[in-house]
C-alpha cells in the first residue's frame, strides 16, 4: 500500500472525535437557546445551579463508565452500587457516629463491588455484560438487606456536607466534580495506568503480548468505577438527607447513554473524558429543560431515545463516510 494514500486521512481521523464534540456543543447551544426561549427562567443562576447539581452524580459515575467503556467493557452495577455503598456508609455512620468512618466505609464498599466485577472480567475473562448484570442484582439485593428495605434518615452535617451544602447559589458538589474531572483526566492521560486503559480496550491481545498486563489493569478500572459509585453514594445521601435503598435506580443507563453520546466507542480504545462531560451536560440540560417546560413525562423518554439514536446515527454516518 502506498503511503501517499495515508496522509489525507489524518485530518478525518482527528475530526472523528472533534466532530462529535462540535455536534454536542451545537446541540447544547440549541437546547439551551430553545429552552430559554420557552422559559426565561432557564438561564437564571439558580436554575444553572440546580441543573449542575442534579447531574453531579451522573458526572461522577459517567467518568468511571468512560474508563470502563474505553476497555470495551460495561458496568451495569453502578446504580445498584450507589445504593449499596450508600447503605454501608450510612449504617457505619449511624453505628459509629463518625462521618469519616462513614465516608471510608462507603468508598470501600463501592470498591469491593468493583473489585468483584474486575476479577471476574479481567482475570477470568468473563463477559462484562454478564458479570455486571449479576452484580447489578446482587448489590441492589445487599442494599435492600442492609437498609431492611427502608430508608434511613441522616442528620450528621459533616456527612451531608458534600451533597447538601451550597455556597450562596453554588452547591459545593460542583467544584468537587470539577476537581474529580481534573484528577481523572491526569490519571487517564498522564499516567501509565491511563495508557493501559486505552491499550486494554484497543487490543487486549496486543497489550498482553507487550507485557502491559491488561488483565490487571481491568481489575483496577472496575475498582475505580466502584470507588466513584461510592463517592456518588455520599453525594446522593447528602442530597436527599437520607440513605435510600432505591437510590441510583437506572443510573447505569443514564451513564451509558451519556458516555455513548460523548463519543466513546462501545468497542473500546477510543474516546475522552471531555466527550462524556459534554454528553452528561447535554443530557442534563434536556432533562432540566423538559421539566421546566412541563413536557409530559410520557414524551420525555421518547425524546431521550430519539436524541441518542440521532447522535449515534450521525456518528455512524460520518464514520462510514470516511472509512471508504
Amino acid at each position: 500500500m502506498s503511503d501517499a494514500a495515508v496522509s489525507p486521512r489524518r485530518t478525518f481521523a482527528l475530526d472523528g472525535l472533534m466532530l462529535r464534540y462540535a455536534v454536542l456543543v451545537g446541540l447544547i447551544v440549541i437546547a439551551s437557546v430553545g429552552f430559554s426561549l420557552a422559559n426565561s427562567n432557564f438561564y437564571s443562576i439558580t436554575n444553572v445551579g440546580i441543573l449542575l447539581r442534579s447531574i453531579s452524580v451522573l458526572f461522577l459515575v459517567s467518568m468511571g463508565m468512560t474508563f470502563i467503556m474505553l476497555t470495551g467493557g460495561i458496568d451495569l452495577s453502578v446504580g445498584s452500587n450507589v445504593a449499596f455503598s450508600g447503605g454501608v456508609g450510612v449504617v457505619a455512620l449511624t453505628t459509629t457516629g463518625s462521618a469519616t468512618i462513614g465516608f471510608i466505609c462507603a468508598l470501600l464498599a463501592g470498591m469491593a463491588i468493583g473489585w468483584v466485577n474486575g476479577v471476574f472480567i479481567g482475570r477470568l475473562r468473563l463477559s462484562a455484560f454478564m458479570v455486571t448484570l449479576a452484580t447489578f442484582a446482587l448489590a441492589r439485593g445487599l442494599a435492600l438487606v442492609i437498609y431492611d428495605a427502608d430508608s434511613i434518615n441522616v442528620d450528621n452535617a459533616a456527612f451531608l456536607w458534600l451533597g447538601g451544602t451550597s455556597w450562596n447559589n453554588l452547591p459545593v458538589v460542583i467544584p468537587f466534580v470539577a476537581l474529580m474531572f481534573i484528577a481523572l483526566s491526569v490519571l487517564l492521560y498522564r499516567t501509565t495506568f491511563g495508557r493501559n486503559v486505552y491499550a486494554a480496550g484497543s487490543n487486549f491481545n496486543t497489550a498482553f503480548v507487550l507485557g502491559r498486563r491488561p488483565e490487571r489493569s481491568v481489575v483496577w478500572i472496575y475498582v475505580l468505577s466502584g470507588a466513584l459509585a461510592g463517592l456518588s453514594a455520599i453525594v446522593t445521601v447528602g442530597r436527599v438527607s437520607s440513605g435510600q435503598p432505591w437510590a441510583g435506580l437506572f443510573l447505569e443507563f443514564d451513564a451509558i447513554t451519556a458516555v455513548i453520546l460523548g463519543g466513546t466507542a462501545l468497542s473500546g480504545g477510543r474516546g475522552r473524558l471531555l466527550g462524556t462531560i459534554l454528553g452528561v451536560l447535554l443530557y442534563g440540560i434536556i432533562i432540566n429543560g423538559l421539566v421546566l417546560t412541563g413536557t409530559n413525562p410520557y414524551l420525555q423518554s421518547l425524546i431521550k431515545g430519539m436524541i441518542l439514536l440521532g447522535v449515534v446515527l450521525l456518528d455512524t454516518y460520518t464514520q462510514r463516510g470516511k472509512s471508504v
Binding site: 420557552a38 422559559n39 426565561s40 427562567n41 437564571s44 439558580t46 436554575n47 440546580i50 447539581r53 442534579s54 452524580v57 431492611d148 428495605a149 427502608d150 430508608s151 434518615n153 446522593t236 442530597r239 436527599v240 438527607s241 437520607s242 435510600q244 432505591w246 437510590a247 441510583g248 435506580l249 437506572f250 432540566n288 421539566v291 421546566l292 417546560t293 412541563g294 413536557t295 409530559n296 413525562p297 410520557y298 414524551l299 421518547l302 425524546i303
Partner: protein, 345 residues
Amino acid sequence: MTILKKMTATLAVAGGLMGTTALADEGTLDIVFINDGHVAPYHVAWLSGFEDAIAAYDEAFSDLEVTGRWLSAEGSLEKMIQQAEVTINEKPDVMFVNAINVDAFEPLVAKAQAEGITWIAVHSPMESADYSFTLGDVTNGRNQGLAMCALSGGEPFQVGVMLGQAGNPSGEARRQGILEGISSCDNIEVVAEQPADWDTVKAQSIAENWLTQFPDLDAISGVTDGYMYPAIAVAQNSGRDDLQFYGYDGDVPIIQQMEGGNVMADILLSGTREGWNFVQMAYRIHKGEELDKVYDFFTPLVLSEANHEKALANGFPEDIEVFYVDRALEVATKGYLEFGPDSVQ
C-alpha cells in the same frame, strides 16, 4: 384522556408554544403536581383526573386562568428533589408533592414557602407543609377489616394480607388499619402477611404460594387493588371460586366484580377523584377558604347493597359511610360529580 392524546397535546406544547409559566398575576392559578410515578394504573387515572380538572376549572371561571402540569419522578428520590427544585424556581401558586421520603423535602418546603408557594404534602403528612392531603389510611383499612368481620359469618375464617413495600408509610398505615379492624372479631385468623412491593407480578406469585400453602384460605386482603387482579385470576385458575377478596383503591374493574363476584369490599379512592380533588382544593385555597391543615380525602367504603344489609345485621357500625356499587362506579370515573367547578360555585 388517552396517553396518546396527552402526548399529542404535549407535542403541540413542546413544539414551541411553551408559554405556560405562571406570571403570578391576580387572575391566575398555577398548580404543579409532582408524583412518584406515572405508569401504574392508579397513577394514570390520577394524573388524567388532575389534567381534566385543570381544564374544567380554567373553562368554568372566566376571570381566572387555571394552569397546571404534573411531573413524575419515576420512583427516584433524587429525580423528585431535582424536579421540586426546578419547580420552586418557577414559582407556581400551589405545589402538590407526593414525596417518596418526606424528611428529604424539609429544606425544600421552607424554600417554597419563602417564595410564597403553598406546599401540599400528598399522602404522607408533613408538619411543615401548608397542608397535608391524606387518605385516612388507618380508618380506611379499619373499615375494610370491619367489613370482613361482618361478612365472614362467625365461622373460623383464614385470611392472607398483601402489604405494600416495607417501610412505606401509606402501606404501613393501611396494614395497621386492616389488622385493627380484623381484630375486632375473634373468628378471623391472619395466616400470612407479605409485602408485594406494589407489584402485580409479585402479588401473583404470592397468591399462588398461598393457595398451595393454605388450602383452607377464605380470603385475600390487599392494601391496593393492584394485587386483586392477579389474586382473582390465580383463584379462578385453581378453581377456588369460594375465595373472597377485600380490596383498596376503588379501581373500576374491581368494583365491577362486586355484584355476582367474589370481591366483598373496596375502599373508594379512585385516582380520577383524587386528581379532581387536588384542583378543587387548590381553588378553595386560592379563594381564601380556611381548610383543615390535615385534609382527609373523602374515601368511602364500597359494598354491594345486599352485603351492606348483611353486614349491618352482623353488627357493622351504622355510621360508616358506604357507597353502593352503582354510585361508586359513577363517581369513580366522573370526578367532577363531587369535585368539579359546580361543587365550589
